[in-house]
Amino acid sequence: MQARKKFVIGSGIIVATLLVLAYVGYTQSKTYYHTISEIPTLQLSALHQRMRVSGNVRAGSITHVDGRTDFVLEEQGKNLAVSYVGRDTLPDTFKDGAQALVEGRLMPEGGFVAEQVQAKCASKYEAVPGATPGAAPNPAPGSATQPGPSSGQSNNQSVVPGGPGQS
């Protein structure tokens, strides 16, 4: 009984430590998904959240200035101006009309500063849903999920596609 009690106490300490670490890790890395139309309705506190937003790149909106790339994301008639400030090269698939997922923060004056951009172009596989597994966890059919350096990671610990993927 004595040994059992010690074991329970030891386990309790371990589990408590892990919970604290998990909470710290959670607060450091939590990222919200929002749609463009949701953004104006967000509370003030939500403005400081790290978030992911997806949409289509408006044709002709991409401009490169001073090491920064500006473009406009569209979704159901709503627009979001995005500045990409990450240092990695944008993916080849990032072009007019491409579907893009940006990660970063909202600026107080509107607009969105993205540290990461991922993009996929409309593909001729589109007719076969859910057909291309592999690197990405079930990426879109034939999506040019452009992983790696081109997915615009802010550091090499960040979002990484693929891995011991089942395919």
Binding site: I14, Q28, T89, A135, N138, G148, Q157, V160, Q166
Partner: protein, 696 residues
């Protein structure tokens, strides 16, 4: 041929249904003939699914694009071996592939045991058939790879669309490892069906004795070996192909394979508690159940798109089927356990905190905690959406914060656990076993600290690596010295002799040593450097000891892709050391761009060069260079783990002789017996080798 394939698949489904129904009738009525016919049906599934797979491969090899599945994953110019691997490049095919591998396992499990365990095997057959029915349902009715393109015209005549050229295989999959990685990983996933079936069968049939746990353990080792190899091949593929300079990013796909690995590892350890002390029976049964469920969950996570990680834009309809199946498994397991819980009563209690038992308990606690954290993090977007309505994801910092300390604690247990005695360890034994290794570790840490090595986790990892390696070396040395002095042989051949006499114990040490190498390699990532630059001919980049000079940019192409290629000369200390040729490819059939990384791998570091793309402003090529320390140790450690696991599955030398004389037993049985230190093997060994305060 498509009709042939889908017909074979339909027959396989019927055979599996027969195996289930007749199996249950056989158990209830105790009619041997019915049971036997059920088992034969279970084996026949293998033949029928094989025919279906062969006919699908026939389509790939003959460039017959009348099947949409073939058209979307192959093209004429695709190299032959990728046409073969295109079988599992998509959802329908990989589910068929799952079914096929499962049918292979099922065939061997039923065939090898057809004349043994008459009380156990009928239940095993039923459990396996249940799993097969689920997958064959998907293959036949939900996601058939034999579905054809076409429709009825106005007059009701069927028209089948035929394409003359396919869309090509996803370029990410056009890499040699992708031909072997998925089959091996899938063998790891599917294989857990067999231990699951045996555990469930033993529980339902209230099979007397502990024999089933030995069979279960053996099958778990086989499938764990495949899962381990699959994970390592996947890491290596991610590293070599994806071009982001790393090998593990806590992506849902990776996590999916890691979770059953963690619980499977926990089972392989805690099963010893049951064999030696009759403890943790409920826990072990549930570990097997949970591992199997995690395999199914893993398959569904990567198939359903429910945890649509950052770049999964698409979802498929298959998710609800998997979750329904998981719910059924859970219900069956709960009922089986509840009705038979007295069968699993523990024989013993924990005696002391400093004992082998408690080290196993901590090992299990921590492995399960890791698994839970990974599961939680992976499913967090789904859970948070249910609870708060906000979809929130967590990233690598979450996983690393929790798992790095867990990994270090596990490493400590790796050194300490095997040398603790069952029941209780005396202070003397502790000092005898650990004084020198601990001193060695601390001295190594102190030296590193003096030389400016200040990061906390890598420093702890270094101390523990030295400590664990020394305890393992000491174990081999102590045992080998006794054999050497008695036989008059030299110490090296004595080490071989020692290992072969108790492969499970010493193979286990080899696995532990492999894990140490892997941890060292992972700790190396704390010192990664990288630099990215736009380059013209004549420009150079410096990183670590290297200077990289850009010699040329040109274009190469073949029928499969066009590539921009950089020719880079690498200098070290002013001397030209090598040439690297990273490429940026565009695959023609799919029009998908892809990078081809150039890696120079050395024992101390990898020089990893990526042709990242073209700068939108200047139009110049962008080159991204990484210097990743100690990555090679991870791959080497993986090989050591695989070899050690293989070693632990070889029957003990002395025991093999005894068994040959007995002449009655099959090989599989012999392994199950000897590897667990059965009575046959035990006394012979035990008299020969003194224990270091511990038994295996």
């Amino acid at each position: 041929m498509d009709i042939f394939g889908s017909f074979a698949l339909l027959l396989a489904f019927l055979a599996a249904v027969y195996a289930l129904v007749a199996g249950i009738i056989g158990i209830l009525t105790r009619r041997a003939l019915v049971t036997k016919s059920a088992q034969h049906a279970g084996m026949a599934v293998f033949g029928l699914v094989t025919l279906a797979v062969a006919s699908l491969e026939f389509f790939f090899f003959t460039d017959n694009f009348s099947l949409p599945y073939v058209a979307s994953h192959s093209n004429r110019a695709l190299p032959l071996y990728y046409k073969f691997s295109a079988l599992w490049a998509g959802q329908e095919g990989s589910l068929l592939f799952w079914t096929w591998l499962l049918s292979i396992y099922a065939f061997f499990a039923l065939f090898l045991n057809r004349k043994k365990h008459p009380e156990l095997m009928p239940y095993v057959g039923v459990a396996i058939a249940g799993v097969q029915i689920f997958f064959l349902t998907l293959n036949n009715f939900i996601a058939s790879p034999f579905k054809i393109l076409g429709g009825l015209d106005a007059s009701g005549v069927m028209h089948v669309a035929r394409l003359s050229e396919g869309n090509g295989l996803n370029p990410l999959l056009q890499y040699p490892e992708m031909v072997i990685h998925p089959p091996i990983l899938y063998l790891g996933y599917t294989g857990f069906t067999i231990p699951f079936a045996f555990a469930l069968a033993a529980l339902l049939g209230r099979y007397p004795g502990e024999k089933w746990i030995k069979i279960t353990r053996l099958w778990t080792m086989v499938t764990w070996l495949f899962l381990t190899m699959g994970i390592f091949l996947g890491m290596h593929w991610a590293y070599a192909v994806l071009g982001w300079g790393g090998y593990w990013g806590w992506d849902p796909v990776e996590n999916a394979s890691f979770m059953p690995w963690l619980t499977g590892t926990a089972f392989l350890h805690s099963v010893m508690m049951q064999e030696k002390r009759g403890m943790m029976k409920v826990w072990n049964v549930w570990l097997v159940f949970i591992t199997f469920m995690l395999c199914i969950l893993g398959t569904s996570l990567t198939r359903s798109g429910i945890v649509s990680s950052v770049h999964a834009f698409a979802e498929s309809s298959i998710g609800p089927w998997f979750f329904g199946f998981l719910a059924i498994i859970l219900a069956v397991c709960l009922v089986a356990w509840y009705k038979n819980r007295d069968y699993l009563r523990s024989d013993n209690q924990l005696d002391s905190l400093v004992s082998r038992e408690s080290s196993f308990l901590f090992n299990n606690l921590i492995l399960l905690a890791a698994c839970f954290a990974v599961l939680w993090g992976t499913l967090f977007p789904v859970l948070s959406e249910w609870v708060t309505g906000n979809k929130i994801s967590v990233g690598p910092p979450f996983f690393n914060k929790v798992n790095v300390p867990i990994a270090l604690f596990l490493m400590l247990l790796t050194g300490v656990g095997p040398l603790l005695a069952w029941h209780k360890t005396s202070y003397d034994a502790l000092r005898r076993n650990f004084a020198w290794p601990l001193t060695g570790g601390v001295v190594a840490g102190a030296i590193a600290f003096v030389f400016g090595f200040r990061q906390l986790y890598p420093l702890i990892c270094l101390i523990l690596s030295v400590f664990v390696t020394l305890t393992i070396a000491a174990e081999f040395y102590r045992g080998a010295r006794v054999i050497a002095s008695r036989d008059g042989s030299n110490i090296l051949s004595a080490v071989g002799e020692l290992t072969m006499r108790n492969t499970r114990r010493y193979g286990g040490y080899v696995v532990h040593f492999g894990m140490v190498l892997i941890f060292i390699g992972i700790a190396g990532s704390a010192f990664n450097q990288d630099i990215q630059k736009e380059m013209s001919i004549g420009d150079n980049i410096s990183i670590g000891p290297y200077t990289i000079l850009c010699q040329n940019f040109d274009q190469v192409s073949n029928s499969n892709y066009q590539a921009d290629r950089a020719t880079l000369e690498v200098f070290r200390n002013g001397k030209s050391e090598m040439m690297l040729y990273p490429e940026h490819r565009l695959y023609l059939a799919s029009q998908v761009p892809e990078t081809m990384v150039a890696v120079e791998s050395k024992p101390l570091h990898d020089l990893y060069v990526v042709y990242a793309g073209t700068s939108p402003e200047t139009g110049k090529p962008v080159i991204h260079v990484y210097l990743n320390p100690l990555v090679k140790w991870i791959w080497f450690g993986g090989i050591v783990v695989v070899l050690g696991t293989g070693l632990a599955m070889i029957p003990d030398r002395r025991a093999a002789l005894v068994l040959r004389a007995a002449n009655e037993r099959s090989w599989g049985d012999a392994v199950a017996q000897t590897a667990t230190g059965s009575p046959v093997a035990g006394p012979v060994r035990r008299s020969a080798i003194p224990r270091s305060g511990a038994d295996d």
